[in-house]
Assembly symmetry: C2
Homo-oligomer: 151 residues x 2
DNA sequence: TTTGTTGCAAAACGTTTGCAGCCTC
DNA sequence: GAGGCTGCAAACGTTTTGCAACAAA
C-alpha cells in the first residue's frame, strides 16, 4: 500500500510544486529526491551527503536547502528524536509514524498499529487541522532492560 | 492530580537517586531542581540559566550536567520540538505529552485526552518496556489555516 | 584525603549564511 | 540576460569537554 507510488509520480509532484512556487528545476534537487526515495528508513543530512557522494557530487548546503523544499511540499518528514541531529524520511503514502525509543541506548524502532492510528487520527480539534502525527514511546529495549537489571 | 506531589517528596526521590548512584548532593543540583519544579511549562537550558541568575549563580555547564542527572532519574522530560534547542519540563506525575504543532508558524500547544492516553499506554510490546510517550500532531492552527486559504 | 563536581573558556557539532560564479528560465 | 541556485568557507548557537580549583564524603 505504501510502495505503489512510482518515482515518476513523486517527481511529478515535486515538479508541480517547484513550478507553482517559481523555484528552479535543478539537477541537484532531482538527484537528492531520487536518492531519498531509493533509501529505506531514517537518515540525516550527513548520511545523505555521504550516500550521494558515491555517484553524485552535491554540497551539504544544497542538501539542507533541498530538504527544506521537500519538507515544504511534504515529500519528506522531519524528526528530532532526542538528539541534536535532525532525522528525515520519505513521506509519501507513509505520513504517520510510531516510534519506540530506548532511553538507554537510543535505538529507534518503528511499529504500525492500525487501531492506534485510527484512535489518533480520529481525534478532532476545535481550532486545529491536523495532517499527520508522530508518536514516540520511550522506554527500554529488551537488551538494555536485561543489562540494567543487573546494575 | 498533578500538583499533589510536594517539593519535599521530589527532593527525596532525587536524594535517593544520588545516593544510589554515588553522586554528590551539591547545593547547585538542589537549587536547579527547585527552580525547575517552581516553573510551569517548557524551558531550555538557557532560559533556566537566566531564570536562576536572579537568585542563584550556576554555570551553564552545571545546568547541562544536572539536566542529564534529572533526566536519568526521570524527574524531567526532554523534547526536541523541531528546533536545534532541546526543551525540558518537569515530569513528575505528568509524563505523557500530547502536542499540536503548527507546521506553518511553529506554535506548540498541549492537550490532554484520557481516552487517547489509555489507548496509547495500553499498547504492549513483545520486546519493549515503555515508560512514557509523546504524541506530536502536525497541522495548521486556526490563524495559519485562514492565512493560507487566501494564498 | 580522595575523588566527584564546579566554573570557565575553548572546542565541537549540526546547521545557516554570505558571496562569487554558474545555470535555469 | 536576469536572478535563483550552487559550492565553498566562514559564522552561528547550542551543547560538550578539558582542566584547575573546590568541596562533599
Amino acid at each position: 500500500m505504501k510502495d505503489e507510488v512510482s518515482l515518476e509520480s513523486i517527481q511529478e509532484i515535486f515538479t508541480d510544486y517547484l513550478k507553482k512556487h517559481k523555484h528552479r528545476k535543478t539537477p541537484e534537487r532531482y538527484a537528492i529526491l531520487e536518492h531519498i526515495y531509493s533509501y529505506e528508513g531514517h537518515f540525516n543530512a550527513d548520511i545523505l551527503h555521504r550516500m550521494m557522494q558515491k555517484d553524485y557530487r552535491v554540497s551539504l548546503a544544497t542538501i539542507y536547502n533541498t530538504l527544506e523544499v521537500l519538507l515544504a511540499c511534504k515529500l519528506i518528514i522531519k524528526h528530532q528524536l532526542g538528539t541534536q541531529v535532525a532525522q528525515y524520511e520519505k513521506a509519501f503514502g507513509n505520513n504517520t509514524h510510531n516510534h519506540l525509543i530506548c532511553t538507554n541506548c537510543g535505538k529507534v524502532k518503528e511499529f504500525t498499529d492500525k487501531q492506534l492510528k485510527n484512535s489518533i487520527q480520529g481525534r478532532k480539534f476545535a481550532h486545529f487541522y491536523s495532517s499527520h502525527y508522530s508518536l514516540y514511546m520511550y522506554g527500554l529495549c529488551h537488551k538494555c532492560k536485561a543489562i540494567l537489571k543487573n546494575a
